[in-house]
Symmetry: none
Subunit: 139 residues, 4 copies
């Protein structure tokens, strides 16, 4: 597998477009979410907490986006690994992994330019909203 | 499921009444507990450590109340999830979850106005005392 | 002096309006800022990092908004106190104070409903941008 | 100077009496305070946050009571040292000192049995309320 490269960081304008698209979908579903976008340097660019979103999601949304940036993959892959048990449980020992669905890398020209992290509903629902955000970058 | 809203924060008078009710039950049972009440802003309002309660429970009682506030549900739900193993073990990766029974949200007019966290005996017994406290808000 | 009360938390819509006004001013000045808005519960509602803002400002902007919420006053008051030296230096011992200008409480009906924190330029310039954001709530 | 000895820890009943006395005085003054009592083992026994007390005082009240317990003296002595400057400024390098007035050791039979920490107004006013609490143990 070729090395996945980090591309130029997302701009604030990009990040805002992604967050807005995710939020639009969350409102349609009636879910109170926290949505965070990191850039390819591993730093937070935009965070929005929707009204009445649970406080714990402020950290979790960032943790998901950070994990997707730091390990260059969707956090659902780690969730699936945990579900298998056995050796994969060693993932629980890593201090900066968030093992919940809802974190997705963001791609442009086959390079990782950032990540979105969503938290507030079930992790499956968080993943739906993260995907809605990610699509805004492709569109 | 409709979004659970955070309501106005519990007053000190409310919190004290809740702690007193929990403590009354703990004394009846002969259990040395730490009892903490948070308000809907996620901040500690009252903490009481009963004589000879274990020191570690000072942090645990607060962690349970904080988790119940931050994630709007009883910590027993997380304890039950862990007991099932498999995918639920991902909960162990979240830095700010306390996965022990004994944390309960407090409700008024269908809004979350705070939470009680109890630690000191078995988590099942902690839950009994937390419930005794929570009933004082309804009564 | 009467007690300053915490009012109902800012909505996401309010917070976004405040951040946008601050950002508009920052762009006019040509400063790359991080702008954070907290609500009256002491939680982050919106954070925006402008392109090329220094990474360290992501934490500092939040620390300024948190200090303004937690201590109900502009962080410039703490900065001024440090400048006087002497007794005021005790402020350096408090773990959760950010002693840089750029954090302002946000008011509505004489109650504290949130705070804005800005970081990225000199602390004096941070304060100018924070004030531009705060005015958007009054307007 | 003879060694100051740690005596038997304050009971919950003692701590509550002390907090109530402090709170009674704070209400008379119209100040919204956080009041914490530690016992002679260095652990929190009771904390009460009065309505609308600033959030930052939850940690500060505990930090003052902890410092008074850990270093067996009123935190005002440290505040006075800071005011003198010079060598005393090394106190700022100690991670667990709170250098604000408002922390007082509590004595019984010439032994330290606990401490009270108060935060919420000016440090001078915090000290007045802490003294009101401490008197309740002597009375």
């Amino acid at each position: 597998m070729p090395t996945i490269e980090y591309g130029p960081p997302l701009s604030l304008a990009d990040a805002r477009r992604i967050v807005n698209a995710a939020e639009f979908e969350a409102e349609k579903q009636g879910w109170a979410m926290v949505i965070a976008v990191f850039d390819s340097t591993g730093h937070l660019v935009v965070l929005n907490k929707m009204d009445h979103a649970q406080y714990g999601s402020i950290e979790l949304a960032q943790a998901k986006a950070r994990t997707a940036t730091h390990f260059k993959r969707a956090t659902k892959l780690f969730e699936d690994a945990i579900a298998q048990g056995g050796l994969s449980l060693r993932l629980l020992s890593a201090p900066d992994f968030c093992l919940f669905e809802g974190g997705l890398p963001l791609w442009r020209d086959d390079k990782l330019v950032g990540a979105i992290g969503v938290s507030g509903a079930s992790s499956n629902e968080d993943g739906i909203i993260a995907a809605a955000g990610a699509r805004a970058l492709q569109g």
